[in-house]
Amino acid sequence: MEPVLEIRNLSVTYGKGARAVKALDGVSLELVPGEIFGLIGPNGAGKTTLIKAVLGLIEPDRGEVRVGGEPGGSVAARSRLGYMPEVAYYYDFLRAGEFLRLCGRLCGMRGRALERRITSLLDRLGLAAHRRKLIKHYSKGMRQRLGLAQAMLHEPGLLLLDEPTSGLDPLARRDVRRLMLALRDEGRTVLFSSHELSEVETVCDRVAMINGGRLIVSGTMEEILRPYRSYRARLRTAEVERVRRACEPASIEERIDSCILVAKTIEELPRLLQRALEAGAVLEDVDHGYESLERLYAEIVEGA
């Protein structure tokens, strides 16, 4: 499958000489059509720099970006992608309709087709009633939705969304997640950066984690979290310490009047359970799954 976005060995440095800071260091990624790709990492990790380098707003020191085969930063490349910035600052002296008309014209759209597209997007994003309102009177949530509208206006194959749910209430976040899933169903590719790991886990097909400008890990959620797979048994006991000693060196998470026994493999689970039951615990429930992405994130970021 032809990649929508190819990033090869991308490096960006801010400043010169002793003040030089490497914002990106040899990052390589490839996005295919119809996937949601999550970019995670702590503040200052290089997520926004990566997106800006794809847009051509920052020229890299070395490396290559291609959007649908076109050189990154070229007008042809930008016509294939839509971008929503992290902070929704737009021309607030314009009305939403006027702003989208401006964006449409910059994308080469015009006439009735542009007006129809604006109307349908404002409807889809719940802004139709506010079309004639000046952007300066928009709430943060409305600005975020307008940001999505301007990014989607020319129906690009690739959407770059920088923290699209930042500062939104839970319902608005859910709407953005639904929208991303709908875009994927339409065959579009979404690259989005986020701090919300649960959100990334929920909607992303693939994830990349960057820290200190370097790509730490990337792949599907299954690939990334496989080493963190675990089996968890909930045990009722008043003597957690006794159970802990019996099951050493397995991990025990203490709860009120109970504890969680964590087994790394299915093979070791029966043996550990047997020891716990012999120590007086009562089995309540067994669950299997992954450690959350949050734990992986914490390990990588704190270990860096």
Partner: protein, 259 residues
């Protein structure tokens, strides 16, 4: 044609209108009208020349201030308000963005100039003065100078990141160039050898904004003669040539800037 550039220019005009920046223009027109109306015509020899000189000088000063205030702040303000990034992420080149800003500024300044010159003409008519074709010539000459200044201010706007610095540099450059370039010629005529050649070269190379000051032409009767075709060809070519140089400089400063 130039759809993206026109869209950027239109947005700029809407901003000036909605942010009430252009209301300053109305205030300045009132100053112009008030100053002219205060002149007493009865029994004063040469008052027509004085009136013309006053209104042309004020028009020039006001439009220069408006031009610099509007244009020199453009890019720093966009960067500061973070509105530049979503626009530059669209499929338009940085040249298109700059040229759009230039077109918007020229449209705004043309409108301002029309208002000022129309006001001057009204005053002259009200005072019983004869309106001549020189008014049109003065208007066009000043417009050419403003186009040049717009490109210069846009250049400074791309060069520095602070709006006040960009405004100051543009005003300094304009008034220094306008005030002193003609003196270089005088200095050159008094110098000899290498000094004369160097001063002559400087005189030739630096932009001459004083060419586009119609005050003398408008005010003093002996000089009130129409410019010929070749004169216009020179003035227009000179202004557009320097405009192109300043715009190219602005593009060079802006094209690889990181945002």
């Amino acid at each position: 044609m130039l759809a993206a550039e026109r869209a950027i220019g239109r947005a700029m005009l809407i901003e000036l209108f909605r942010r009430k920046d252009l209301y300053v223009l109305g205030l300045l027109v009132l100053v112009l009208l008030g100053a002219a109306a205060s002149i007493d015509f009865f029994g004063v020899e040469g008052v027509e020349a004085y009136l013309r000189e006053l209104s042309t000088t004020l028009t020039l000063l006001f439009t220069v201030v408006i031009a610099v205030a509007v244009v020199a702040r453009q890019i720093p303000r966009e960067v500061e308000r973070k509105t530049l990034v979503p626009i530059l992420a669209k499929p338009l080149s940085r040249w298109q963005f700059l040229f759009g800003k230039f077109l918007g500024a020229v449209a705004c300044l043309t409108a301002a100039l029309v208002v000022f010159w129309a006001s001057s003409a009204l005053i002259e008519a009200f005072k019983g003065m004869r309106l001549t074709g020189l008014l049109v010539q003065g208007f066009v000459l000043q417009w050419l100078g403003l186009v040049m200044l717009t490109a210069l201010a846009l250049f400074f706007s791309t060069l520095v990141s602070e709006a006040p610095v960009s405004v100051t540099l543009s005003l300094l450059a304009y008034f220094l160039l306008k005030g002193f370039t003609s003196n270089i010629h005088i200095l050159a005529s008094g110098a000899t050898g290498f000094g004369a050649s160097a001063l002559g070269l400087v005189y030739t190379v630096v932009p001459h904004f004083e060419f586009y000051d119609p005050t003398q032409m408008m005010a003093f009767a002996p000089l009130q003669k129409a410019l010929g075709f070749l004169d216009w060809l020179f003035f227009a070519g000179y202004a557009f040539g320097y405009t192109a140089v300043f715009l190219a400089g602005a593009w060079l400063a802006f094209r690889r800037k990181r945002f």
